[in-house]
């Protein structure tokens, strides 16, 4: 699905990531860990083309992201669900409209029943008509997750998706992600939450990657 070949990224103040090689195969489940500032968010941005590597090659479905024109990048993003750490929404649209936005962008109409089911899936049925500024941090994260999966993406990239959630809701969302993965969605989650990783490993064959010293490593069995 997504492959990194000797990828490095440099914000201009020295290399943040160097010599990274990875192949995210279809249907795989990965966690990405590492200390704060290690470059986890940067790694995810490289995955969906918000950032381009300063050296090396990132390919999406065997196509070099560097060689893609803007429309192709947009099309690629329609098949990638992204949950950002800061969960941004369009504040003048209701939560339901925000969740359905990827469909509007792709020129498709939202099925109301499906939308309600999806909002129920993330526990936000009652907040469907609420405007994003009135939502709590946890509600926003669940809303962002619903928006990320509404297009049935091939890949789901999530940056600390349970950072604002309590244990119960975190596990509930994990169950949903595991379900998605079983349906074929490739999943990559950047997180510090070791309990979440352990819970996931009990349900799926999740691999854990760690960024240390600007490099990507497969984490050991201690997790």
């Amino acid at each position: 699905m997504i492959a990194f070949e000797n990828v490095a990224y440099d914000y201009g103040s020295g290399a943040l990531l160097t010599d990274m090689s990875l192949n995210l195969s279809a249907g795989s489940f990965h966690f990405l860990t590492g200390p704060s500032g290690a470059g986890k968010s940067t790694f995810l941005k490289l995955c969906y083309g918000e950032l381009l590597p300063t050296s090396g090659k990132v390919t999406f479905l065997d196509r070099d992201v560097h060689q893609m024109d803007r429309d192709t990048v947009a099309q690629m993003r329609q098949s990638i669900g992204v949950v950002h750490q800061d969960c941004q929404f369009l504040d003048h649209l209701t939560l339901a409209e925000n969740v359905a936005l990827p469909l509007a962008v792709a020129g498709r109409s939202a099925d109301t029943a499906d939308l309600q089911e999806l909002l129920g899936w993330v526990g936000l049925s009652k907040q469907a008509m609420a405007l994003p500024p009135s939502l709590s941090g946890g509600e926003r994260q669940r809303g962002a997750l619903a928006r990320a999966v509404i297009m049935s993406p091939k890949i789901l990239l999530a940056d600390e998706p349970t950072g604002n959630l309590d244990r119960e809701m975190s596990l509930r969302l994990l169950t949903l992600l595991v379900e998605l993965n079983r349906m074929g969605t490739t999943i990559m989650i950047a997180t510090h939450d070791l309990a979440l990783i352990r819970a996931a490993k009990a349900q799926v064959a999740a691999r854990v990657l760690r960024i240390t010293d600007r490099q990507l490593q497969l984490a050991g069995s201690e997790l």
Binding site: Y48, G49, E50, L51, L52, R70, D71, A74, Q75, M76, R77, Q78, S79, I80, V82, H84, Q88, F89, L90, D91, H92, L93, E97, L101, P102, A104, V105, A106, G107, R147
Partner: protein, 301 residues
């Protein structure tokens, strides 16, 4: 070309998805509407001035289309001979296509309105008038005056119409300024819309970020902003044009004796011309917003 046609079609037909993504209000909303209304109002006035100066210059040019008068003041017994002498001179003067001695009765009829009804015009020493029709190339006024002074002392060439030539030039120059004003107004409108669109794009950076994240193409985002600003500009320009046309309609009607000021308006089919202003404003808004949006989006990965 296909992308532009698609964008034009999007502006006309609308796109429910794209229309909703830009927040409905913002600081630039009224700025755009009011400024485009003001620009359209000024454009109507400039257009009226341009058309009025063209009409004025045409009228003055027509009245200059080669007529002059010679008047001969002499004793009655020598007047016929002098008249014939002047006609002979005119017959061989280059640039004179025709010359006619005006009948004294005709001259008296011209003078009659200026006197009391019972005034005896016959008692006045009325000069003989000779009407000259110039050829297209015109004649040498100074040369003819000198020759008349030498050969027919009582004859004087009256080229009174020639003072209008500088006025025609001035009218044409004012017309050029009016046309230039229209161009400047169009440029100012484009600059204003570009600034308003850029301000809106900067204000809505978060919206653009979210849309990019979920895979919105540049065309989708551009369509949302272009439609919003094109409609606002068109509404403002239509209002400004309407008010401008009312202002022009309330001007006093064009009258021969009123000269330039009373002629500042539209006549007949010219009233259709201002209706093009909102259309042109819409085209300007479409291009200015489209260019500003695409330029901004290209800076974002």
């Amino acid at each position: 070309m296909k992308a532009i046609l698609s964008a034009v079609s999007g502006v006309i037909s609308g796109d429910t998805g794209a229309d909703r993504v830009v927040p409905p209000s913002g600081p630039a909303v009224w700025l755009t509407v009011i400024t485009s209304a003001a620009m359209a109002f000024l454009a109507v006035l400039a257009l009226a001035m341009s058309l009025a100066t063209v009409r004025l210059a045409d009228r003055w040019t027509a009245s200059l289309s080669g007529r002059a008068t010679i008047h001969i003041s002499a004793a009655p017994e020598v007047l016929p001979a002098q008249t014939q002498l002047v006609l002979d001179i005119l017959a061989v003067t280059p640039g004179v296509s025709a010359a006619r001695a005006i009948d004294p009765a005709e001259t008296k009829a011209l003078l009659a309105p200026w006197f009391e009804p019972d005034f005896l015009i016959d008692g006045l020493p009325i000069p003989q008038l000779i009407d000259i029709e110039e050829a297209a190339e015109g004649f040498d006024t100074e040369g003819l005056s000198l020759r008349l002074a030498a050969e027919v002392p009582g004859a004087a060439l009256d080229d009174h119409q020639r003072w209008r030539k500088p006025l025609v030039r001035a009218a044409k120059r004012i017309g050029v300024f009016a046309d230039l004003s229209l161009v400047l107004i169009a440029g100012a409108m484009a600059a204003m819309i570009t600034l308003a669109a850029q301000a809106a794009l900067a204000t809505n950076a978060k919206v653009i970020g979210v849309l990019h994240l979920i895979g919105a193409r540049d065309a989708f985002i551009t369509r949302a902003f272009v439609r919003r600003y094109t409609l606002r500009t068109t509404v403002g320009a239509a209002f400004g044009t309407f008010v401008g046309m009312i202002a022009i309609a309330t001007m006093p009607g064009a009258a021969e004796e009123g000269g330039f000021l009373t002629g500042l308006g539209f006549s007949g089919w010219q009233w259709i011309w201002p209706l093009a202003i909102p259309v042109i404003a819409a085209i300007i808004a479409f291009w200015a917003t489209r260019m500003a949006t695409l330029r901004t989006l290209r800076r974002v990965q």
